[in-house]
Symmetry: C2
Subunit: 158 residues, 2 copies
């Protein structure tokens, strides 16, 4: 399999694949007589897993560390496990936050629908929706230069 095929199958660009190789996320493949990368199909499972780690918020440093540990074989099993366990904790926390946010969004959407329908909104419901809606409070529209954001001070440096 050449880099173009792998790109297609993995969903990454050839540039990204070469970049991952450069930084050490994926191992250096063998080359054919012309110097072109030849990949074994098993690399796809590794890329898929890396992708999963990335998509769930693992930073590049940890992915790199995990990749590095992987090359060390079975001696690194315990550390790899601990890395995954700590990522697992982050994933659990993220799920909690997302679930919470889902509720907030739902409340707000309902509130907006009511407001769109011209309903007067019950203040109790408003606070339940944790709303911040409406025109921003105490906006200073008069004292700033639009381009620079500089305030005309009485005598700056004069």
């Amino acid at each position: 399999m050449r880099i173009g095929d792998l790109a297609e199958k993995s969903g990454l660009s050839t540039d990204t694949l070469r970049y991952y190789e450069k930084i050490g996320l994926i191992p250096r493949p063998l080359r054919d007589a012309g110097g072109r990368r030849i990949y074994d199909g098993t690399i796809l499972r590794w890329i898929e897993f890396l992708d999963r780690l990335k998509a769930t918020g693992m930073g590049i440093r940890d992915r790199l560390r995990y990749a590095e540990l992987r090359t060390l074989g079975s001696a690194s099993l315990a550390e790899r496990r601990s890395l995954l366990e700590s990522h697992r904790r982050k994933v659990v926390a993220d799920i909690a936050r997302l679930t919470e946010t889902l509720e907030v969004l739902d409340d707000k959407v309902v509130l907006y629908r009511r407001m769109e329908a011209g309903e007067t909104v019950d203040p109790a419901f408003e606070s339940c929706a944790r709303t911040e809606h409406g025109a921003p409070p105490n906006q200073d529209s008069s004292h700033h230069d639009r381009r620079t954001g500089a305030r005309p001070r009485a005598d700056r440096k004069a």
Copy 2:
């Protein structure tokens, strides 16, 4: 409330608050006689909500758009709602992916524990854990210069 107080209460740095103001995420506050920003406590709810959007993966462009719509008052309710609804869909998808990943991580952790204990791993179980473990396949360790990554080709350009 001055910027330092707001920073403490919101968990953002004063630099970040000024940056948010500069790009338009938060409204320009009033100033005191000395030109210092004076904040109304209600801004905290807005910052909190922005933070929630950011923490759940909404990019800066959409947050900016939402902030902009907010300044337009009730005329923008429908568009704000649609923005939130589309974010909601992303959040739902993210929860699904995280939940899936949680399973993959759990499988891998169990697998690692077994391997650490010196168990021979049942191949069927291995594939269930979607494993990519072990030394990387077909690593090319011999043909590259360590510093440049350049392969000594037989007669490059000679």
